[in-house]
């Protein structure tokens, strides 16, 4: 089924400071909570996460015990010779976790990263897809 994207209406943008995540890390440095959108179609769930500065090589998506977790590190960083004059955003990695229902077909989860946006597709398990039962007339 073709899915042409629709646009959400535009308005003046507002900023939100990054929310730090208190979490034990294997890496040092600050970690922030990315903004996400979560939507559902009859076939699947989709999670979109804004992870500016990160790329496919620096992001990890895991599903463990029904918890979907996103971890990302920066791929784009300031160069050592640059002296900061003014900074409106903090630099660091990203982390977020979601509890998923058991209606996901875990083996068919896919994820794609583009221009700092991570899109995760979580297909619903067969048994949980809405199914239309044809009623025949006798």
């Amino acid at each position: 089924m073709s899915q042409k994207p629709v646009e959400v209406a535009s308005r003046e943008l507002e900023a939100q400071p990054k929310q730090p995540v208190a979490r034990e890390l294997t890496r040092s440095g600050p970690v922030f909570q990315p903004d996400v959108d979560i939507v559902e179609t009859p076939e699947e769930y989709r999670v979109y996460a804004d992870l500016p500065g990160s790329d496919g090589d620096h992001v990890q998506v895991r599903l463990e015990e029904g918890v979907l977790s996103i971890d990302a590190a920066l791929a784009v960083e300031p160069e050592p010779g640059w002296v900061p004059l003014h900074r409106e955003y903090r630099l660091g990695g990203w982390h977020r976790e979601f509890q998923l229902s058991d209606r996901i077909a875990a083996e068919r989860i896919s994820a794609e990263m583009r221009d700092g946006v991570l899109e995760i597709r979580l297909p619903k398990a067969e048994a949980h897809r809405p199914r239309r039962i044809e009623v025949r007339t006798a």
Partner: protein, 153 residues
């Protein structure tokens, strides 16, 4: 590294040089267009950072999911202007249900007044992984030069 906030300087009126420099630089950032920040007073989009090297200023912005045609960058004298629109696309499924919406679309316009003039012919901009990096080479007379100190014999 110290976090330099954009919003108004702290209440403590410090005469120290660093604080004054920071306030001066904060004043270099202007934004046009009405904003009514509800959650982040003084917060604007996209968030910017300005760096300086010996021969250039570097402006960075976090703007994930941007299309080329939705971004316009212009340089006039010491002023850099970033204009554009962040769009959000969701599947066009008529049965779509939305559980969470945190990423916000919208138009933006930011202007930065640089501390020294730049060579607008040589400005380079790169958009990679949702980060815009703009390199603005300083005009020759404004580049810092390392001066070798001679030792008298």
């Amino acid at each position: 590294m110290a976090w330099v906030g954009f919003s108004s300087p702290s209440g403590a009126a410090s005469g120290d040089l660093f604080e004054r420099l920071r306030r001066d630089l904060d004043g270099l950032f202007e934004q046009f267009g009405a904003q009514q920040p509800l959650r982040a007073p003084g917060g604007v989009q996209p968030p910017l950072a300005l760096y300086e090297s010996d021969d250039a200023y570097v402006l960075t912005a976090e703007i994930p999911g941007l299309k080329r045609e939705d971004l316009e960058l212009s340089v006039e004298g010491p002023r850099v202007t970033l204009r554009g629109e962040r769009r959000i696309e969701l599947p066009a499924d008529p049965k779509l249900s939305v559980h969470r919406r945190e990423r916000r679309p919208g138009v933006f316009r930011r202007t930065v007044e640089l501390p020294a003039p730049v060579d607008s012919e040589k400005v380079e901009a790169l958009y990679r992984h949702g980060v815009l990096t703009v390199r603005l080479p300083k005009q020759a007379q404004h580049r810092s030069r390392r001066i070798e100190v001679q030792q008298p014999r």
